[in-house]
């Protein structure tokens, strides 16, 4: 015994102190990350929740010949500036489609102008004092109020904040992701199956493997340039369409799916393969009937995470023209469309202050979908994962 008991216990104390310090530091790091997240969410919720409500006012609407010519004439002069012009301009077409309306007039809840909306929400507004008085009076009589904003979830983009909605961007995102999935999933899985189960281990497959890992780390804007050069300029796929966006994002998602699938395949123990070979299965039968089904949860998880990543992407989509003004909800993958993050980007640049809440509202919708996708990935993994 060269060390005394005191020395040893001092050393022990030091070691304990060290580990306590490390524990506090790492808890601090976690706390800081959590704090950032809380601040971010609080800010987004505070700014974005008002976007889910929209001012409506109850006014007398006159469906006359005159209002068919000049829609402004359909409402009384004192509230003319307070109803949405975007709603007024649809009147002539509505009367054309419903001729029985002509010559009638009735009280209706109609969409209010964006400035009325901002005023009722207590934000900055460009209404003058007279208009504010009228809105106050209407609100007192229960003829002006904030209602659930169906417009936001059912319409496309608009220059008028009261008419701007997230639906066309959401549809664009869905179609783009479907194309991405349809292209990258089969190609990615088959590539991984070949590399993992069939390919010999030689110089060529090693080079391919290194390249796939490299591709996964390439900045996404380069895939956009590739998409522009190949899909638009060479194959003539329509610009701004979900088809070209989906194909471009598929290029980006491919390496992610390949790597995830290879990891999943590798985690299936060799015993399974040996047993299947032992009863006389061919290599293809072994893969199809035994290895793939066992690896599927891992493959699905990887694919969903890859897709979620693709969904948040804007840089490559700017290059292929998907960051555009799209009020119509596109019906096919060759129509022009935009995607959720691009819509948020567009709204963030609008001069009109009412778009601040639209931007935050859009972010909330995007985050909700992302959380849902990632949660699905976690659930799939937990439910089907097998430990060996």
């Amino acid at each position: 015994m060269s060390q005394s008991f005191d020395e040893i216990s001092a050393q022990l104390k030091r070691r304990h102190r060290k580990s306590a310090r490390l524990k506090w530091l790492s808890m601090g790091a976690l706390g800081l990350a959590g704090l950032f997240l809380v601040i971010f969410f609080a800010d987004m919720l505070g700014k974005g929740l008002p976007a889910f409500q929209q001012a409506q006012i109850r006014v007398e609407v006159t469906y006359s010949e005159q209002s068919q010519q000049l829609p402004l004439a359909a409402v009384n002069e004192d509230v003319r500036e307070l109803v949405s012009r975007g709603w007024l301009r649809t009147l002539p077409m509505m009367m054309r489609d419903n001729p029985q309306l002509l010559g009638t007039s009735r009280q209706e809840w109609v969409l209010a102008d964006g400035q009325v909306d901002q005023y009722l929400k207590g934000h900055y507004t460009r209404l003058d004092d007279d208009e504010k008085e009228i809105v106050d009076a209407l609100a007192e009589q229960g003829r002006a109020e904030l209602q659930f904003n169906t417009t936001f979830f059912s319409r496309g983009d608009s220059k008028m904040p009261e008419l701007a909605g997230i639906m066309s961007a959401a549809m664009g995102t869905v179609m783009t992701l479907l194309v991405t999935l349809a292209v990258s999933f089969p190609i990615g899985v088959m590539t991984a199956v070949y590399l993992e189960e069939f390919a010999p281990d030689n110089r060529l497959t090693q080079i391919i493997e290194i390249n796939i890992n490299n591709l996964a780390a390439i900045p996404s804007i380069l895939f956009g340039l590739l998409g522009l050069a190949i899909f638009i300029n060479f194959f003539g796929v329509p610009r701004s369409s979900p088809l070209v966006g989906g194909l471009t994002l598929a290029l980006m998602t491919l390496p992610v799916i390949i790597i995830a699938t290879r990891t999943a395949l590798r985690s299936v123990p060799d015993n399974i393969r040996h047993a299947a070979f032992g009863v006389g299965c061919s290599r293809w039968q072994v893969v199809r009937d035994h290895v793939l089904p066992l690896a599927l949860p891992g493959i699905m998880t990887g694919s969903i995470i890859g897709l979620a990543q693709a969904m948040g992407e804007t840089a490559p989509l700017i290059i292929v023209g998907m960051v555009a003004f799209i009020p119509d909800i596109s019906a096919s993958v060759t129509d022009a469309a935009t995607v959720l993050p691009a819509q948020i980007f567009t709204w963030a640049g609008e001069p009109d202050r009412a778009f601040v809440e639209k931007t935050a509202g859009g972010i909330l919708v995007l985050l909700t979908i992302l959380i849902a996708m990632n949660a699905t990935a976690v659930v799939l993994r937990k439910k089907f994962e097998r430990r060996w």
């Binding site: 077409m93 003004f325 001069p351």
Partner: protein, 337 residues
């Protein structure tokens, strides 16, 4: 397994859709981010009040838009490009080389560039020369060009406030920056002997000029945080934020719609769009869109676009521009020189 077969089938179906080339009834528009809010307003109105689909508008910047526009006359090139400056002769020549020869120019109105600050301060009266001296990379002193020594406004002129020079402005890709360089930097330096009569547009890179990105809203936000700083951005953003910002008067003229429209305010520019007449057979609706854009209810004194920041041109100029579009007047190289 079935899942994989199914997705392969979907992929094949998608690919076959792509193979079928489509005729186009939708107008395609690219170009300036300054004109973008006005163009998209008209496009939306066009989609909502006619039976045509809403035109697709991409904000690519004036230069980027003209590059796409001049790529050729094919169906896959844009029909219209917006510009916050006039087409350059070199761009016209490039268009002609690629077979885009029949172009109509539409002049829609003006936009002013504001030199603004937080309204916590007093309004500043500044001349273009003072702005130039604050922002140029090299300034003349005793007949020689030296690296810009000014760090505070009152070092340039004692009438200016005792505040550090800090200006948030757009990056070099922006049309606003182009216009600022042309209307302030070039205009001032051409009259200064030290630069030998040549326009000088180099902006200092020592931190006094802060590149704030393409998004003008960011500049506006930063001005309310940093009340000492100034910002350079389009007039519509000043109008929309008049509760927190105050525009400086330049050469003694306040930034008001009237002063910008009459050309009295020195930092104002004209806004345009260009029509590719070769597409008139494939995309006939582009003229209906253009005529709607040029109508009084859009670009007139009481037009909708005024409400979102466009500054209308005088009546005779509007009339002239409207006639040019209606008669599809062909743009000549000599018009641009």
């Amino acid at each position: 397994m079935n899942r994989i077969l199914k997705t392969t089938a979907i992929a094949a179906a998608v690919m076959s859709v792509a193979g079928v080339a489509q005729a186009r009834d939708q107008i395609r528009i690219v170009g300036s981010s300054t004109v973008y809010p006005f163009a998209s307003y008209v496009a939306e109105e066009f989609g909502a009040t006619t039976d045509y689909p809403t035109p697709v508008i991409e904000s690519t910047g004036s230069g980027g838009g003209l590059r796409l526009f001049c790529n050729g006359g094919g169906d896959d090139t844009p029909d219209i490009t917006n510009a916050s400056r006039r087409m350059k002769p070199s761009e016209f020549e490039r268009c002609a080389e690629n077979g885009v020869t029949d172009i109509t120019e539409a002049f829609i109105g003006y936009d002013g560039i504001a030199f603004a600050q937080s309204n916590a301060n007093e309004q500043m009266n500044v001349t273009r020369e003072q702005i130039f001296l604050a922002l140029a990379a090299q300034v003349p002193q005793n007949g020689e060009l030296v690296d810009n020594p000014y760090t505070r406004w009152n070092e340039i002129d004692s009438s200016l406030p005792d505040r550090e020079i800090a200006v948030y402005g757009p990056p070099t890709t922006s049309g606003t920056r182009d216009a600022f360089e042309e209307l302030v930097m070039e205009a001032v330096s051409e009259d200064m002997e030290a630069y030998g009569g040549e326009g000088y547009t180099d902006i200092r890179a020592d931190g006094a000029y802060i590149d704030a990105g393409e998004n003008d809203n960011l500049i506006v936000q930063r001005l309310s945080e940093n009340t000492d700083a100034f910002g350079i951005f389009g007039y519509s953003f000043l109008e929309e934020n008049d509760d927190s910002l105050i525009g400086s008067s330049i050469d003694g003229v306040e930034p008001t719609p009237e002063a910008i429209g009459s050309g009295e305010y020195p930092v104002s520019r004209s806004l345009f769009f260009y029509l590719k007449n070769q597409h008139s057979d494939d995309v006939p609706s582009m003229y209906e869109y253009a005529n709607m854009f040029m109508s009084e209810q859009m670009i007139g004194e009481l037009g909708y676009l005024k409400g979102i920041g466009l500054i209308p041109a005088p009546e005779d100029l509007r009339e002239e521009a409207r006639n040019a579009v209606e008669s599809q007047e062909q743009l000549e190289l000599s018009d641009l020189q």
